[in-house]
Amino acid sequence: MVKVNGELVEEAGKSVAAYLAEAGYDSRAVAVEYNEVILPKADYEKTILVDEDVVEIVCFMGGGR
């Protein structure tokens, strides 16, 4: 199981790029933190998800005070 944005998903074995595409993320608009390290966009294809990985996918949203 892989933890993506706090939820456990059965996605081990896929590349990050494949996961993003299948799950419906716009890979140009997000940043990915892979096991607490920022994953450069160039590495999305070659990084393969394995069990117990922790992935955070973030984007900008409205914010201010």
């Binding site: 608009a29 984007c59 409205g62 914010g63 201010g64 005070r65």
Partner: protein
């Protein structure tokens, strides 16, 4: 007597003509474009959040070209978390600006000054243009500038309170003593309050809730724009006399002078 130089705001080597930093929270993306346009804003803040697969709207599509995005670290409770969020924001590819917000308290959302100094030091060393949100304390402001902050952003009143310049005296001290722009952030609830802060010598105003809670958001954005510009002009013009004189001495104080 003095040359009239172009009045610009400089932050980390970047130059801005607008002194209104607009927040993009608490209202629909559809309104952002009009708000930015009518505010004349050149800097818009945004937050970094977990992406959602169901929503395909991207805030960047609503922000006009040429506007600088200022990601904040809201949600950070420690210096390390703020640094982590700043790194993610930079990876999102909109430049090196970051507004540090660190709150250990969810009730009042008051900034943790000490953690903010530490995060500022780390991020400034990494080349970020760091704009720290802080509680107006002179010693902390000095530490922030020494740590590399490009400006200091003291709060005027609790976030979202629209109460205006509750910390006025302390913000004035920062304006007088700190060799960096002082950007008043949080609590500014009306154009009149924004104008007053600018008259005091604030370099810029950051506002969000006051607009988000207005009846007509773009119209209020425009009102803030005018008020901030007016306050700036008044500051540059030099305010006139305030009659707060004490009584005059009965005997002249300088009567003893000889030559």
């Amino acid at each position: 007597m003095k040359e009239q130089q172009e009045d610009v705001l400089e932050l980390g080597g970047h130059t801005f003509h607008s002194r209104f930093i607009l927040g993009s929270g608490k209202y629909s993306l559809a309104l952002i474009e009009a708000a930015v346009r009518d505010a004349g804003a050149e800097i818009v803040t945004c937050a970094v959040r977990r992406a959602n697969t169901k929503e395909h709207e991207n805030i960047l599509d609503y922000i006009p070209k040429g506007v600088t995005l200022l990601p904040n670290t809201s949600g950070a409770r420690t210096a390390d978390e703020a640094v982590r969020i700043a790194h993610l924001a930079r990876e999102l590819g909109c430049g090196d600006f970051v507004k540090i917000e660190i709150m250990r308290d969810t009730k009042y959302l008051l900034p943790d000054n000490e953690a903010t100094i530490r995060a500022t030091e780390t991020l400034a060393k990494e080349g970020f243009v760091v704009l720290p949100y802080m509680y107006p304390d002179l010693n902390v402001a000095r530490d922030l500038v020494n740590a590399g902050a490009a400006a200091v952003m003291p709060l005027a009143a609790p976030i979202g309170s629209n109460k205006g310049l509750v910390t006025k005296e302390f913000i004035q001290i920062l304006i007088d003593e700190i060799d960096a722009p002082i950007i008043v952030d949080a609590g500014i609830g009306s154009p009149a309050q924004a104008c007053e802060a600018m008259q005091m010598g604030a370099a810029a105003i950051m506002a969000n809730t006051a607009l988000a809670t207005a009846g007509d958001l773009p119209l209020m954005a425009s009102a803030f724009k005018d008020a901030i510009a007016a306050g700036r002009k008044a500051y540059r013009a030099g305010l006139g006399r305030v009659l707060t004189r004490g009584a005059a001495a009965s005997d002249p104080l300088t009567g003893f002078l000889r030559d």
